[in-house]
Symmetry: C2
Subunit: 209 residues, 2 copies
């Protein structure tokens, strides 16, 4: 069977970037991991940015087809987002830097943000209509919270490293739900309690306080 060198390079690069960070991995390191010469590697990719762009090209979108309409569905969306952040830490840990060294990557980051915003706006409006979220206290409140939420998602990887300095934990769902708790109606809080209780049975420390 013919070797798919290009794909092997992408796989090795992703593993190395996730482990050592974008700045800690050279083209030579990647060539060594694949077991090819650096010349052979640069035949496929001349720069590290090109590898990142190809990795991103190969990603499927991770957004659910429909905006979440219950607390459980929103929670599932957060869990999936966190999984994405962990499995793509090469991308999120270097979000700012990658956007600076490649205009192409920056435009992707913008498109991603623009695509997720209406999704979260719909989710918040639906949760309000379904009686899980209280109405806005002023026009644009949901939008502000969604922006904070989005910052929390894309910068979670570097922030959680920083946070290890402190005594309090760094569970992503606690962080998110702690900041959204004030939006929940009595009905919303009951549903969140149920979800968190299930998690505690499975041993995860996700209770809010």
């Amino acid at each position: 069977m013919k070797r798919d060198t290009r794909q092997e390079i992408l796989n090795a690069a992703r593993t190395l970037f996730n482990q050592y960070g974008y700045n800690g991995v050279s083209l030579r390191d990647i060539a060594e991991a694949v077991g090819i010469s650096k010349g052979n590697l640069t035949y496929h990719f001349s720069k590290k940015e090109d590898i990142i762009e190809s990795l991103l090209d190969s990603e499927k979108g991770s957004l659910p087809p429909q905006a979440p309409g219950t607390i459980r569905e929103l929670d599932t969306m957060f869990i999936n987002m966190q999984k994405t952040v962990v499995s793509h830490s090469y991308f999120f840990l270097h979000h700012t830097q990658l956007g600076q060294i490649s205009e192409n990557i920056f435009q992707r980051q913008r498109r991603r943000y623009k695509r997720i915003l209406p999704h979260l706006n719909n989710a918040f409006a639906t949760l309000r209509d379904n009686g899980f979220f209280r109405p806005e206290l002023f026009e644009g409140e949901y939008e502000r919270l969604i922006d904070m939420l989005y910052m929390s998602i894309i910068y979670w990887a570097p922030f959680s490293r920083l946070q290890q300095a402190t005594a309090h934990g760094m569970n992503f769902r606690r962080h998110i739900w702690g900041a959204l708790f004030h939006l929940l109606t009595e009905k919303g809080r009951r549903e969140l309690d149920e979800i968190l209780a299930e998690c505690n049975i499975r041993g995860a420390n996700t209770s809010l306080s």
Copy 2:
């Protein structure tokens, strides 16, 4: 008068890093801006990280001596924090990357975070005791919000670049107060309204909605 080459290098580097980003500026660029040879520059600083570390060494702390106890004082603290983010964009735009390439810088970032947390915790508790903030809905709620707030501060520079993709604005104070508005009591909201009204007279678009 003897030239202070070291200080000239630091000044030029800071200007260039703020303008073109950490990755867009080489040691050669800095030497050219100062009008010295690259050899002369590397006599003072052998790596770009060394320049950043020296820049950070020369910073004075920007925290107020006392934790803010009124909405106006907290607002002033946010304004000053935003000014710091703008004038030190070389640091904040590259927050994650700098923490990765230099353990020394990463430890500083951690110390900064650990120093600001108790300050904000005190502020929130005082604002509650003074009747501006409602009590916590659960133990640890303030802590979660303060973490979100801190993320908003350190990652504001790259996030606001990303945000230019969208129709809604990107005023830092609107962002912050929009996300904290639900904490305000009637008394707190009156004080915030007064502050924002003054801003509007001066033409700044800081109303929340």
